[in-house]
Amino acid sequence: MKTDNWFQRLVRWTNGDSKPLHEPQAHVEFPKKETPEAPEAPFEKGPSLLKSSAGEITNFSLMVVSMFCCGVLILVLLLTVAYLPRFGSSYNAPVNEVSQRYVEQGVQEVGATNLVTNIILVYRGFDTYGESCVLFLGATAVIMLMAIDRNNTTKKDLEELEETEKMESKNRNQIIRHVTMILMPIIFLYGLYILCNGHLSPGGGFAGGSILGGALILCETAFGVKKVHSFFNHKVYHIIKVGALILYAVLICYTIFVGANGLENIIPLGKPGSILSAGIILPINVAVGLEVACTMYAFYIYFGKGNL
């Protein structure tokens, strides 16, 4: 091979006969996870394999370059701040007809006394619907990555998980259990209150839902996953999550379609300030709340146990 001149080598390469000229440097071959002696190998070996031949020098120069870039970015942003209009002045650009209408006509047009809810759920309902889809996607992505399957779990992992579960169920702390017993109903009630009063007072679906999710997580820590399973298993989780999102989608779809085509909206606005008012806001808040609670619990349980 060494005796070839460059032309012969080129011909061989074009014919696909010779081995490639350069092996890619950052190509990492991962050992199979089943190998018993090195179960953690992918993450221990990763960095050392990724290093190039002149490893130390490259790393150092990369560090210098990245620090320089960060420094430049910081300087540029600080300079920009110096040019921005003063905070809170009434001559600022954001004080314009947009916010004026939200403040002056929001209650009358949309029906909720909480102006923020008016904006996020009705005026800009499409954006917020997108955000709840982000939550849904986040939960789905976590399930996709963390759910136990034959690729990411070995028999040994499963046995260990079972053992931990047994240990935990033996040594449940009495104090936590009793305190949780007293607190749980109150927390659930408070979460529901915030959820259902989203159009009247500060709060709403996102805040109330995270309280509900927190309550579920507390329940799991105190009583173990089996107790939670008795009322919140895989099936219930999916039905609540999908049901809530479909309810949300249908409501927002209807509102958008009717509004855009100039048809009459049959959902009544009600009297501002009463609990059954503000049209679609109350059901949407409930739907968002359930979605958020499900997502929080799913994050917790899948990162910890890998199974609902």
Binding site: N15, G16, L77, L84, E97, Y123, F126, M144, N151, G259
Partner: protein, 507 residues
């Protein structure tokens, strides 16, 4: 009462989102697949209708999302270009899913398959929203959806390499979204608007204000950088080869064919509708995009020449092809932007064709991904071989194929009056050198897959004989359709270019 077809963009977004949500309950991967593919074909039909109606009349329309008009509520805006690109994305995702069927069955676990289709549905929804949005913040929300879904479809093939690639992709993507978000918050605090037409008037008022010129330049820079990081322009491309090279073939095809382009379309809309192309060049961002685009065209090709892994080679070629788009955009003229949009469409069909056919060739060679082991693979799986040949020749720039027209219209745009001389010379040189380099790595690869002389050997001396591998029918259909589209784009480019130039004027 508005004409009914004006509802179609909104229907498309919500149809795909609803399909994604309902797919959670369908545990059978096969049914989930049908739901996705049928909904996407429906969307393609609806978007095509919108395209025909707007292109024939030469108009665009806005669609209020709800009872409240634009600066208060949300708004979609649709013209020929937006509708055409949305149609292209539907088709690309569908062809990729059809073509990558065998790989998907192999790479994604059956119990997780329905989640893969959820991601595809929401990816499509976010791409439509990025095409049709008329609001900077709505754009951001759907960028987020796009990021999560795109990372998940890389991750779906659950092995060490893809996890590392996903982490890289996720970090770079989040940096991009963060910078974009910072850009729009600064823009909001100096103009007080998020809606594009209102921003346009506000920016026109302040662009020559000495006090606000600096923050405005920073905004232009940050929005451009944020979106270029996400669409893998040259210095920010480092995540692309590993993410596209290691994912399952339909993911690679969708990522390079559709996902990268979604961000570029948002950027084109911002360049044309928030600023004007002239403003962007006045603020300096245009020149930066131009230079980086030219550098990407050459750098990506050089790395592709060095690469021996078939899919990574195609991924590096994506880096170069993204450079073509930015070169056109960086010229900041109508012809340049129209050429960039043409390149988006041409590349959206050619690259998935290459990825899908490479997937077929790799399947036919015992899942060996090195080019060395693909020798003679074209005879084992002729449909994949033909697809790879057509795609590769189009990238090289053979006349009658889409890639040639791209180089032609880009060259014409660079030679037009009013372009500074250095830009003209750089553009022509970059196109020439890049085409030569493209030929240097695509032609040997094509020759290798059609090699007949000796029996091809695997790493352990396996022999893969002819006829042992039969591709699935969806694969053949997808490859045939994409080949045909590449040919049509190459032969009948002039009418399309006229529509695109008219469309850029309507943006």
């Amino acid at each position: 009462m508005r004409p009914f077809y004006e509802n179609f963009p909104f229907f498309c977004i919500f149809l795909t989102m609803l399909c994604g949500i309902i797919t959670t309950l369908i545990h059978d991967g096969k049914k989930a697949r049908y739901v996705t593919i049928i909904s996407l074909f429906l969307c393609a039909a609806m978007n095509a209708t919108v395209f025909i109606m707007t292109a024939v009349k030469g108009v665009n329309f806005t669609y209020t999302m709800g009872a409240f008009p634009a600066p208060w509520g949300n708004e979609l805006r649709s013209g020929p270009i937006e509708a055409l690109l949305a149609t292209v994305f539907c088709l690309v995702i569908n062809f990729s899913l059809m073509g990558g069927k065998k790989d998907l069955e192999l790479d994604v676990l059956p119990e997780k398959k329905n989640m893969y289709y959820i991601m595809m549905d929401l990816l499509a929804a976010s791409l439509f929203a990025l095409c049709y949005t008329n609001d900077m913040f709505t754009g951001y929300v759907f960028i987020e959806i796009n990021t999560i879904a795109a990372c998940s479809i890389v991750m779906a093939k659950d092995c060490g390499q893809t996890i590392v690639a996903t982490i890289r992709y996720l970090i770079m993507s989040l940096v991009g979204s963060g910078v974009y978000l910072l850009g729009i918050s600064i823009l909001y605090s100096i103009t007080g608007h998020l809606l594009m037409p209102n921003l346009f008037t506000a920016v026109n008022d302040i662009i020559f204000d000495p006090q606000l010129r600096y923050p405005l330049a920073v905004v232009a820079g940050m929005i451009c950088i944020g979106l270029t990081v996400k669409s893998a322009l040259f210095p920010f491309h480092t995540w692309l080869p590993s993410a596209h090279g290691s994912a399952t073939s339909s993911s690679s095809a969708v990522l390079s064919g559709a996902v990268l382009k979604g961000y570029i379309i948002l950027l084109i809309k911002i360049v044309c509708r928030v600023f004007t192309p002239r403003d962007i060049s006045y603020l300096g961002a245009g020149y930066i995009l131009f230079i980086l685009g030219a550098a990407a065209m050459i750098y990506g090709s050089i790395w592709a020449v060095r690469e021996t892994h078939a899919k990574r080679m195609i991924a590096y070629s994506s880096v170069a092809q993204i450079g073509y788009i930015y070169l056109g955009l960086g010229l900041c003229t109508t012809a340049g932007i129209a050429a960039a949009v043409f390149q988006i469409i041409a590349h959206a069909f050619t690259k998935p064709l290459l990825f899908v056919s490479a997937g077929g060739l790799i399947d036919a060679s015992g899942h060996q991904k090195k080019l060395y082991y693909l020798r003679g693979a074209g005879w084992r799986c002729p449909s994949a071989g033909i697809g790879f040949t057509v795609g590769g020749l189009s990238m090289v720039g053979l006349p009658l194929l889409a890639g040639f027209v791209t180089k032609l219209v880009l060259g014409q745009a660079a030679l037009a009056e009013g372009i500074p001389q250095w830009q003209m010379i750089t553009a022509l040189a970059a196109i020439g050198i890049s085409s030569l380099l493209n030929a240097w790595y695509y032609l040997p690869a094509i020759l290798q897959i059609w090699k007949t002389e000796d029996e091809p050997l695997g790493p352990n001396g396996e022999v893969y004989s002819e006829g042992r591998y039969t591709p699935s029918r969806p694969f053949k259909v997808a490859v045939a359709c994409m080949c045909l589209l590449v040919l049509i784009l190459g032969c009948a480019a002039r009418p399309l270019m006229n529509i695109l130039i008219q469309g850029v004027g309507l943006l």
